[in-house]
Symmetry: C2
Subunit: 206 residues, 2 copies
């Protein structure tokens, strides 16, 4: 990720065409069955009310492959309930389209403000309810643990995380919103615990 | 509500048979159309992760009538995601069964702890997402405002609220969990603003 300054990052974010489900992609993918050699398909979700990043990876033995990623964006003017409705229905569409069998979300982070915690909690609640209704087991990792797994140290920046995600998955993450590279990092963190450490470091299901 | 002490209240809560949807009631009610004279059917929801109270009332001009109420209970041992799944699917069943056209939830309350705010926010998020997906407008009232509307003063106890709900709706609330009388009070608060104050005091949709 080659971000020189905040203005450039914001321009990229604004230009980003990543949407949760593009109709043409959706129609095409629905006819395409999932490769049977895929042992696990993991969806990582970096939840927030206005911009939720998502990233999907496939695990085949020790091989990890990015499937797709994007952001679920809500306009700053959208009503609170509309944001939750959009979040909920978009995650349901993603599940229907990609059929992941494990979900990973961010958890255990520090939030100073009670009001912010309530809003963030609402977004998480809407997403977790949809995943749970689809019968997908959900794992939670603290941001520090994700950074440690992906970058080797817990206080890496979002840009450093994106760079390492790019290397791990051999993808080009330029112009990808940082929320979706964070979501891929969440999925990667769980996949690493599954494959490298023979499951010893896997966080329990929530 | 004639509650002498906490132990008695807890015994009542434990004995309560109120469940979100009883199969026999569900089957019977599905065949029964909603009375066309009903102008508005309001669902009040007092959301929490382990015990969410709900209450449904019908508004016909200045007349208010209780339809049903109950609690959505989750075992203290149930996993977090299971609680949200149950909450989400139970609210969806209630909507399907009773077809309310307005929802009222508690909001603007003070929560000291960030972790508690996050958990409570999750329960609210799961419920709001389901209501919004069903296209039901959602209004939010602070507990103080509900107590003022129902009891005439903002620091009424839960027992006093239950007593006034009993009087307003001419129902017997003995043995009813306080969470469901709180939910009926939320619906009543909105109904009062609709009918008595000609809509001047209605909280905006969230």
């Amino acid at each position: 990720m080659r971000i020189k300054n905040q203005a450039e990052l914001e321009r990229w974010l604004a230009q980003s065409k990543a949407t949760p489900v593009l109709p043409e992609r959706r129609a095409a993918d629905k006819t395409k069955p999932i490769d049977p050699s895929v042992q696990r398909r993991i969806i990582g979700l970096d939840t927030a009310l206005r911009c939720t990043g998502w990233g999907m990876i496939d695990v085949r033995g020790n091989q990890l492959k990015a499937v797709d990623c994007g952001v679920i964006k809500n306009s700053p003017k959208a009503a609170f309930s509309d944001c939750l409705r959009c979040l909920s229905s978009s995650v349901r569409e993603l599940i229907e389209l990609y059929r992941p069998n494990i979900a990973v979300i961010e958890g255990g982070f520090y939030c100073r403000n009670v009001k912010t915690a309530m809003v963030l909690g609402s977004a998480r609640g809407a997403v977790i309810a949809v995943l749970a209704e689809a019968g997908i087991p959900i794992h939670e990792y603290a941001p520090r643990r994700v950074k440690q797994a992906v970058c080797g140290f817990g206080n890496a920046s979002k840009q450093q995380v994106a760079l390492l995600v790019e290397q791990f998955l051999a993808i080009q993450v330029d112009k990808m919103p940082l929320d979706s590279s964070d979501a891929l990092a969440l999925a990667l963190c769980h996949a690493q615990n599954l494959t490298v450490a023979q499951g010893h470091g896997i966080s329990p299901e929530i």
